[in-house]
């Protein structure tokens, strides 16, 4: 078990700056080439407020501050999120997304970490939780 952590403790904070290049890079890495993630005209034609970050990109980077905190400790057993709000990535200014990682619960040899992911003051993921087992 991880010594010294308590429920409610913030273990990591990070701000990620996304630009359009981030979305193109994720499209190539993941194979998700939906044009709403890189073409303004397509995003507009389907009624979106702009080009959106892939939900799975957000889920992908949201766990990284926790991965850094853990280092080589523990084993991730479960990671789930709900996509509640899109992140619009401005072509010029991009988007700044903040991640706060807190200890949600400690049960036996497992810790649940809760991720609060915020863009322009609103959370973009719901119930973003990671179960880590220390055995």
């Amino acid at each position: 078990m991880l010594a010294g952590v308590t429920v409610g403790q913030v273990v990591a904070n990070r701000t990620i700056h996304l630009d359009r290049g981030s979305l193109v890079r994720y499209a190539g890495a993941s194979g998700d080439f939906n044009p709403i993630h890189y073409r303004d005209d397509v995003a507009e034609s389907v009624g979106l407020p702009g080009v959106l970050a892939h939900g799975m990109l957000t889920m992908g980077f949201a766990i990284q501050p926790l991965a850094d905190f853990l280092g080589t400790r523990g084993r991730i057993a479960d990671y789930g999120v709900r996509f509640t709000r899109p992140i619009v990535v401005d072509p010029e200014h991009g988007a700044d997304v903040t991640i706060e990682t807190t200890v949600g619960a400690i049960v036996d040899d497992a810790i649940r970490f809760d991720l609060t992911v915020t863009f322009q003051g609103d959370t973009v993921l719901g119930k973003a939780q990671v179960q880590v087992v220390f055995d």
Binding site: G60, A67, D68, D78
Partner: protein, 148 residues
């Protein structure tokens, strides 16, 4: 047109084996802003007890996508891809994915629900390694927005 509820329980052929490549893992790690060296540095990964670089936790989505395309292309599914929104996503791991893994993924649809004009389709992609051992299950709920 709502999503066909008869998708639940249908058998889909397994996809793969998908060979997890070291450079693909590194490329994915950079794309998700990973900074823990176990995702990119072979020596760091081996020092931590892994056979090769570790795939970031959401990497299995790359393989899950291949199974979801089976679902979307079922002729009687009634799923209009342009109306699909990702509702939620979960990964349940028996162990981390590492480069060199050969993963086979099998899709099943666990529920189809209709809420007004919208449908919600929940599916699981169960991924096993070359020994047949479970590695990770990716569970996804897609929301299909109804027509006007």
């Amino acid at each position: 047109m709502t999503v066909n509820p008869e998708l639940v329980g249908r058998d889909f052929p397994s996809v793969g084996p998908y060979l997890v490549g070291r450079e693909k893992v590194r490329e994915f790690a950079r794309a998700v802003f990973a900074t823990n060296p176990i995702f990119t540095d072979l020596e760091a990964a081996r020092a931590a007890g892994h056979a090769d670089v570790v795939a970031p936790p959401t990497f299995p989505v790359v393989i899950q996508e291949h199974t979801l395309s089976q679902l979307l292309s079922e002729p009687d599914a009634n799923i209009d891809f342009s109306r699909v929104v990702h509702g939620d996503q979960r990964f349940t791991y028996s162990r981390p994915v590492v480069a060199g893994d050969e993963l086979t993924a099998t899709l099943s649809v666990t529920s189809v629900k209709t809420l007004g004009a919208h449908s919600m389709v929940t599916s699981e992609s169960v991924m096993t390694d070359s020994t047949g051992a479970h590695v990770v299950t990716a569970t996804s709920t897609l929301v299909v927005r109804g027509g006007e």
